[in-house]
Structure formats: C-alpha cells, structure tokens
C-alpha cells in the first residue's frame, strides 16, 4: 500500500474520534474563549463584548490571588507528601516480610475508593461532634476537647491534604514498586560488595530506576491537584471563610453560583493556562531524564 493511501485510511479511521472530540472539547473550548471577552450571564442575554476587562479584573482581584495561593499550597504539599510516602511504602513492599502479598493487594483499596466516597468518609472521621478522630485523640489523651477540624480555618486545609494523601499515595507506591522490581538484583548486590551504605545505595543505584516513572506520576498528580474540585466540594465547599477555596471551586462559584458566565470563563482559561505551563515544564523534565538515563 502506498504512503498516501495509508495516510488517507488512517485519517478515515480517526474521523469519528476527531469529530466527537471537536464537538465536545474543541467547540466548547473555543466558546469559552469567546465568552471570556463578554459580560454574559448564565441565564438570559448573550452579553456584550467587554474586551479584556474580565482578565484584568480577575488577575488584580485579591480573591483570585488568595485562591491561587491556597491551590498552590494544596498541590505542593499533598503531591510532595504523596511522593515521599509512596516511595517509602514501595521500598518497604519491596522487602521480604510476612503478609507482603496481602499488604500489596490492600494498597489498591484507597485508589479504588471513589473520590466522593473518600471525601465523605473523611468528613465523617473529622466530624466535630461524633467523629472518629476526635474520639480517638481524646481517648488516648492527646486532645482535651473535641475540635471542628474542617470548621476552623487553621486546620481545614491540612485536614483536606491528609484525606487527599491517604487516597493517592498508594498509587505512587504501586508505580514506584513496579519500577523497583525492574532494578537488577546483581546491581544491588554489587553495590553492597563495594560497601555502599543504604543512603548512597538508594541515591546512586535505585533512584535512577525510579526517576522516570516517578516523574510521570509527579506530572499527573500535580496537574490533578491543581485542578482539584471533588474532594474539596464534598468536604468543605471551599470554607470556612474561603480558607480551602481552590481555583476550580472559585470558577464554579463565579460561573454557576453567581451565574457570571463571562468572568467565570476568563477565570477558567487562566487556570487552563497555568496547568498548561506546569505540563510544559514537566514535559521538558521528562525529556531530560529520558535523555540522561538512555
């Protein structure tokens, strides 16, 4: 078969997918761009062209700046903790001990639990009057009086981060474990003979095998964490006093609660741009590590 007819055939086979993607992603995205330059409301008239007003207002508003900070704190701390806990758990699961197979199988549980169920579960655990956390901490004497973990601005974000980490570190652990099992036995044995201590062995022998898969996990988790909506909506709806409001929650409020479709659209595109920048930075990182290990 000639090159051109193969290319034509390929395009024909891709046509249904591309048509649907244009209908459900391409067109809405273009429409969001259009809306972002108007003062359109969610219900009613189409709105007037207002130029870059929405963008200027958004970028200079203290609401946006505060929300961006909250989102960054949430993403950086939770992803960092997930990476560290995930690698530690993987190193443990790569050792010999009784019950290893069972424990490995259990690691899939938090990942499999639907996000909303996880959020609901932790909301019950953190319950200010009847929650298990308050009960456990008071019964072992670490807490004098019940606290409202999700109701106080000082503890709400940290409580959310713990719930998010619990669900996501096992995934990192499973990815890291698969990578660890690819490290050849004789290399670790040789490093032992050469007298490498546990830390230098991890740094120079094991880490190079982990780097690639971990960076992929880091990319995906960071992008997810930056877009976070579900867990926060179910646990705090962005409260108390907006202390857990992330960018996606802010867009939801602007576009759907306050029905300002135009300014909601501009905000959504700013979020999209931030995510794209993150992704580009990581793509460069991935390429560089791929080059250095090859």
């Amino acid at each position: 078969m000639s090159g051109t007819s193969m290319t034509t055939r390929a395009w024909l086979l891709m046509l249904p997918l591309l048509a649907v993607m244009i209908a459900v992603i391409g067109w809405p995205l273009a429409d969001t761009v259009g809306l972002s330059f108007t003062d359109a409301k969610l219900v009613g008239t189409a709105g007037n062209f207002v130029g870059i007003d929405n963008y200027v207002k958004t970028l200079t508003s203290s609401n946006f700046q505060r929300t961006l900070t909250t989102t960054t704190i949430f993403a950086v701390i939770s992803v960092f903790a997930e990476m560290v806990l995930g690698v530690l758990a993987a190193l443990l699961l790569n050792q010999q001990f009784y019950g290893r197979t069972v424990l490995r199988a259990l690691m899939i549980l938090p990942w499999a639990l639907p996000t909303v169920v996880n959020a609901t579960l932790w909301r019950l655990i953190y319950n200010p009057e009847y929650g298990a956390l308050n009960a456990a901490l008071t019964q072992i004497g670490m807490l004098d009086a019940y606290r409202s973990w999700l109701g106080e601005p000082g503890t709400a974000l940290a409580s959310l981060i713990i719930a998010d980490c619990w669900k996501n570190f096992p995934l990192v652990a499973l990815i890291a474990l698969a990578a660890l099992q690819a490290v050849p036995r004789d290399i670790t044995a040789a490093s032992l003979v050469d007298g490498a201590g546990p830390f230098s062995r991890f740094r120079f022998v094991i880490l190079p095998y982990l780097a690639g898969p971990l960076i992929v996990a880091l990319v995906l988790r960071t992008i997810e964490a930056f877009k976070v909506f579900d867990i926060i909506w179910v646990m705090t709806r962005g409260g108390p006093a907006n202390s857990t409001r992330t960018l996606s929650i802010l867009v939801y409020q602007e576009a759907f609660s306050f029905q300002r479709a135009g300014s909601g659209a501009s905000l959504a595109l700013i979020v999209t741009l931030l995510v794209a920048v993150l992704a580009a930075v990581y793509a460069m990182l991935v390429r560089r590590t791929a080059g250095s290990t090859a």
Partner: protein, 281 residues
C-alpha cells in the same frame, strides 16, 4: 537473600503493620459505621465496635419502595451504571479504530497527541459551553447527555491506552495475514482485535471506573432522579441533614464495592496499565 539481623526484620514487620493500619483503618471504619446502630455512632465515648451488628441499612438502601431513601439510591445506582456503561462503550468504539490507525501510521501521530493533551484541560474550561449546549439539545438532566460529556474524559484516555496496546502487537502478523489474501477488516477481526482483547478489557475497566468516579459534570448537569449519579447522591447525603451517619457510610460502601472488587480481582492488569500509561488518580 543476604542474612538479615533480627532487629532489621522486626523493624520491617513493624513498618508493615503501621502501613497496613494506615490503609485499612479508614476503610474498616466506613464499614463498621455502616453496620453499627445509630446510637453507637453518636455515643460519647464513641463505641468502636457495635454491640449488635445491624445490616438493615443495606436493605433500606437497596429497597425500591416508592419515595423512600432506597428508591432514590437505587435510581442513582442505575443512572451510574447506565452513564458509565454507555460512555465506556462509546469511548472504545471511537478509540479502537483511531488508536490502531495511529499505531500503524506514525505520520498522523501528532493528531493523537492533540487528543491526549486535552486530558490536561480542567473541566471548568468546558463547563459553561457544555451547559449551554446540553440545554440547547434538551439533554440537561439526562443520562445520554451526561454520557456524551463523559467522552471528553474517557475517549482521550482509552485512545492513549489502546494505542500502546496496538504498538505491542507486531505488524508483521497483520502483514502475513494480508499476504495470504485477507482484506484489511478481516485481518483486524481475525488477528489484531483478538490479540488486543486484554488491553481492550483493561481500557474498558479503567474507563468505567473513571466514569463511575466522576462528580463535577454530574453535579452540574443533573438535577433529579432521572439522571443523578451515585457520586452526586452521596455528596447530597454527606452535605444534607441526614442524622444517621451509618446510612451515609452504607451508601459509601455500596458505591465503593464495584471499583474495589474490580481493583482487587484485576490488580495485575490494572498495575501494568498504571505503569505503562500512567492514570488519573
């Protein structure tokens, strides 16, 4: 392996125990809440283990008596199965030909990367136009409308997984069949698709789980029992005035059951999928 000191072995087992407790405690507590009498859950000090095991909430939620909590739950369960099932089938139907084409014709690969790049788009970037579009088509609060929207997530994802699946099937096998006179579609049907069956199954499971887990679009585009999915129903329970925490926990256990069973049974296939393609958390 090398000799290990007793102390090291003790340390390992202690860490393993700690990890097991961290993983299991919250899940077990969800289950215990679902079978504890309501009074135990609001007692001070908290009753950690029920005096009498009470499975009645499962019967309540799975009953179909009209206008009961059960009817609402069963309706949302049905909606979740319908939406996730339809979206998965549609996503695979779109992804398989496209993924095969890209796998065999690298010169068109750039279009696939554009499709995959849409995975990064935050759903909020599409939500407002999708809302207008569905309203225009009369598909707000409809399982069909929601399934259509879920293609924004499922189609790029399954295409990505299927493409790496087809890449692993040597094209020489296809060439040999064609040499023997089989046409393109006969070759695909007899040779390629059976070989790709395992990766198709993995992709279908991942897609189903993604749709089962989805909350944001379901929250926006559904409003009552006709289309509300489980995730929205559970969020309603959690945020509402339900006084029996055990009932919320029971709904959570039931919603978690399908993905947990799939996860445990299909562990090996899922992990190889996770490591080959990476996956949404």
């Amino acid at each position: 392996m090398e000799r290990k000191s007793f102390l090291f072995s003790f340390f390992l087992h202690a860490c393993a125990l700690l990890l097991a407790v961290i993983i299991l405690a919250p899940v077990l507590w969800l289950f215990i809440m679902s079978i504890s009498p309501a009074a135990d859950l609001t007692a001070k000090p908290l009753v950690w283990w029920p005096q009498a095991v009470d499975f009645s909430r499962y019967a309540t939620l799975l009953s179909s008596v009209e206008n009961s909590a059960g009817a609402a739950f069963v309706a949302s369960l049905t909606n979740s199965i319908l939406v996730a099932g339809m979206a998965t089938i549609a996503a695979l139907a779109l992804a398989i030909p496209a993924a095969w084409a890209v796998s065999r014709t690298p010169s068109v690969g750039w279009s696939l990367y554009m499709v995959i790049a849409t995975y990064m788009l935050p759903p909020v970037a599409l939500a407002v136009p999708l809302y207008f579009g569905l309203a225009h088509l009369g598909l707000l609060n409809s399982v069909f409308g929601l399934a259509l929207v879920y293609l924004t997530i499922l189609a790029p994802f399954t295409t990505w997984l299927m493409k790496s699946g087809f890449d692993a099937i040597p094209r020489e096998i296809e060439a040999a069949a064609m040499m023997d006179g089989a046409g393109l579609f006969a070759t695909l049907r007899i040779i390629t698709l059976p070989l790709a069956a395992p990766v198709m199954a993995t992709s279908a499971l991942f897609a189903f789980l993604l749709a089962w887990d989805e909350f944001f679009y379901a929250l926006l585009f559904t409003s009552d029992l006709r289309a509300k999915t489980l995730t929205v129903a559970i969020a309603d329970l959690a945020g509402g005035r339900v006084s029996d925490y055990g009932l919320i926990a029971t709904a959570g256990v039931l919603a978690a059951l399908p993905p947990v069973v799939i996860g445990l049974v299909m562990q090996r296939a899922l992990i190889s999928g996770l490591t080959s393609g990476g996956v949404k958390g």
